[in-house]
């Protein structure tokens, strides 16, 4: 990651703090939403260099954010949505949507549709990442329940 990337990561975290206020998070949760956004940004920049395409980097970043959100939800006894909504905002393809819209406006249809298609792929990646984290949480919950039950049987 370059210095410019780190600058963007910091800007992303600051923006997430702004959204934490806009979404009316409890002040004691702001740092946790910023942490999940920081994780998402770092994963996004690292995987963006490592993989081609848009789906995988956004999927992995959303997975990281959602996993962090699930962890914070358990630790702080709060709904995971609280950390997920704010943490994942840095992945939202606002830039793609703007460029798509602007290109369509100036009748660069091909470029416009390409940007909107990219935005859709990113949204799909985010959705899949979030759902995967939920699935892993469910799996973890079931396994820990089974372990707990088998221990009680042994006793």
């Amino acid at each position: 990651m370059t210095a410019s990337d780190w600058m963007k990561v910091i800007a992303g975290v600051v923006a997430t703090l702004g959204f934490s206020i806009l979404f009316r998070l409890r002040p004691r949760h702001w740092c946790f939403s910023a942490l999940s956004a920081l994780l998402g940004c770092i994963v996004l920049f690292l995987t963006d260099d490592a993989f081609d395409g848009l789906f995988l980097p956004n999927f992995l970043s959303a997975l990281a954010v959602a996993a962090a959100a699930e962890l914070f939800a358990v630790l702080l006894k709060a709904p995971s949505t609280v950390f997920l909504l704010t943490g994942v905002i840095v992945l939202v393809p606002g830039g793609m949507l703007f460029y798509g819209m602007r290109d369509l406006l100036v009748q660069h249809d091909a470029a416009g549709y390409a940007s909107l298609y990219d935005a859709l792929v990113i949204c799909l990646g985010i959705g899949c990442g979030i759902i995967s984290a939920s699935f892993f949480r469910y799996l973890f919950h079931r396994v820990s329940l089974l372990i707990h039950k088998s221990r009680r049987k042994d006793v």
Binding site: S20, F23, R24, P27, T81, G94
Partner: protein, 274 residues
């Protein structure tokens, strides 16, 4: 000095069990739906509402519960052990992301399920939640300012772009917070995006920002329902097809209105400053 803390929770433990036998199905369902409606209004997911309403009804003695939630509707029916039943529905016309109230509603439902809130105390608990605020209201403007400014830099803008986006972000937050009653929300989204984009373009024109693209992207992040789209995809993948499709349609229509507002501002810029 005004305090913005949460009113204290009653400390005396009370059992829900005491009035369960005498509680009517209508009363139980009404209170459970009050909480469910509150969660949906604060931006909770439909599957969370279904889960919460079901749990609260069970905590107050319902033998069987069926709940169906959409982003704008909750329908539920219960049957009590004595065979009496009830069904009710709630229409939700507007929602907003209020994670503070969502969390408090979640806490309330946990306490109900633990048997610590009697049925007749649910109303006062909901009132307490509605009157609670996590911080002074002016902080929300700061949220809009640093949200828009931060995203202008995140998408490749300069510090000057961040300043321009922050000023326009303040304007957008102001308009968003003081939505005119009776105006169609979609038309209002169009107006806000038009004013926000116009402010950003003017600031760049007068030298406050350098890249109009980055300034507008910073502002667009405050308005675009990209997150709703992500949530919709998640609901679809979870199997909540109706909810997912409704949210996609809602996000798509809002995005079109926001795009139209920005397009109008860009067109106006082309005419006024060719």
């Amino acid at each position: 000095m005004r305090k913005f803390s949460v009113p204290p929770v009653p400390t005396t433990p009370v059992t829900a069990g005491g009035d369960v036998s005498s509680a009517s199905a209508e009363a139980v369902l009404s209170k459970a739906l009050d909480v469910g409606e509150g969660i949906l209004r604060c931006g909770g997911e439909p599957h969370r509402i279904e889960d919460t309403v079901g749990r609260i009804c069970s905590a107050y003695g319902a033998a069987h519960t069926d709940v169906f939630a959409l982003p704008s509707l909750v329908v539920a029916g219960i049957r009590m052990p004595d065979g009496t039943g009830a069904s009710q529905m709630r229409r939700i016309r507007s929602t907003k992301n209020d994670m503070f109230r969502l969390e408090m509603m979640n806490e309330l439902s946990r306490r109900v399920c633990a048997g610590r809130v009697p049925l007749d105390a649910v109303d006062s608990e909901l009132e307490r939640i509605c009157s609670a605020r996590p911080f002074p209201e002016w902080l929300e403007y700061l949220g809009g300012v640093i949200g828009a400014g931060g995203f202008a830099v995140f998408f490749g803008g300069t510090v000057l772009d961040a300043v321009a986006a922050a000023v326009a972000g303040f304007l957008v937050t102001l308009l968003n917070r003081h939505r005119a009653r009776g105006v169609n929300p979609l038309v209002y989204s169009l107006l806000i995006s038009f004013v926000g984009a116009l402010a950003g373009l003017l600031l760049v024109h007068f030298g406050v920002g350098q890249n109009s693209d980055m300034v507008i992207i910073g502002i667009i992040m405050l308005l675009i329902p990209g997150l709703a789209l992500g949530n919709a995809v998640r609901d679809l993948l979870f199997g909540d097809v109706a909810s997912g499709l409704m949210q996609i349609a809602q996000a798509f229509i809002t995005a079109i209105m926001v795009a139209a507002g920005f397009s109008l501002a860009l067109l106006l810029q082309g005419v006024v400053f060719p």
